[in-house]
């Protein structure tokens, strides 16, 4: 058996309960790492900007990104302090194990 993370789906159930219940969600995820969590919720978002300070982690994410999510997830490397993002552009900021 390969390593199985959150086999009981507690994490994604909690996140689904906390995300706003409306369509067209635009999510800014800070600290996405290798995209382990992003891949689990991105299908219910309209657009995800996934940011991490580690280019190596983002390379791992890019390599494992499912084809059906490639149109809606944008990856960006860099620290939060230098992010160039228009104001009021997102419905949700998600800090995934990154605070």
């Amino acid at each position: 058996m390969a390593l199985r993370l959150d086999a009981d789906n507690h994490e994604i159930a909690a996140l689904a309960d906390f995300l706003p219940a409306r369509g067209g969600l635009r999510v800014l995820e800070i600290g996405c790492g290798d995209g382990r969590m992003t891949r689990r919720y991105a299908h219910i978002a309209d657009r995800v900007l996934a940011v991490d300070s580690s280019a190596e982690q983002l390379d791992e994410f890019r390599a494992s990104m499912p084809l059906d999510l490639r149109g809606r997830i944008e990856l960006r490397a860099g620290p939060i302090e230098t992010l160039q993002i228009p104001d009021e552009d997102f419905d949700v900021v998600l800090m995934s194990w990154s605070l």
Binding site: M1, A2, L3, R4, L5, D6, A7, D8, H10, E11, A13, A14, L15, D17, F18, L19, P20, L28, I30, M37, I80, E81, I85, P86, D87, E88, D89, F90, D91, V92, V93, L94, M95, S96, W97, S98, L99
Partner: protein, 143 residues
């Protein structure tokens, strides 16, 4: 951390929200899951700056409380859930911890206890159990 939280406000729609997930400030438990039940065999040895009163996870709790106390954010919802990592062997868990956590591992006693139980109970698995806090907040208008 307080700066990071406040920095995100400008990127949110006026009715937007921030959702934070971070591990609780408690050691992650290691169990062997057998057909007869789960047996605790130890804890993850985390040598990073994550745990303890001066650790990262406690600091995250304090940062969330501080931005609310300063009326920058309002708590909307909070819950705790368990996050599990399962494998067939302590070696797999140990490799995962060393690769994905900052400075964590299984100590020799925990590995030995897990291995002995796995040998005695074929088909059993090793499980790491973390407690994770999820919080939703919205920006306080006018601040």
């Amino acid at each position: 951390m307080v700066d990071a939280l406040n920095r995100t406000r400008r990127w949110l729609q006026p009715d937007g929200c921030l959702i934070d997930l971070h591990p609780a400030d408690a050691p992650a438990r290691v169990d062997v899951c057998t057909a007869a039940g789960d047996v605790r065999v130890g804890e993850v040895q985390d040598d990073s700056d994550a745990k303890g009163p001066l650790g990262r996870h406690h600091a995250a709790d304090l940062a969330l409380a501080e931005v609310v106390a300063k009326h920058a954010w309002i708590f909307e919802q909070r819950a705790t859930f368990t996050f599990t990592s399962d494998a067939d062997s302590p070696a797999e868990i140990d490799e995962h911890l060393r690769r994905k956590w900052r400075a964590a591992r299984l100590d020799a006693n925990t590995r030995d206890r897990a291995s002995a139980l796995l040998r005695a109970n074929p088909g059993s698995t090793v499980r790491v159990i973390e407690h994770v806090i999820i919080t939703r907040m919205k920006p306080q208008k006018g601040n």
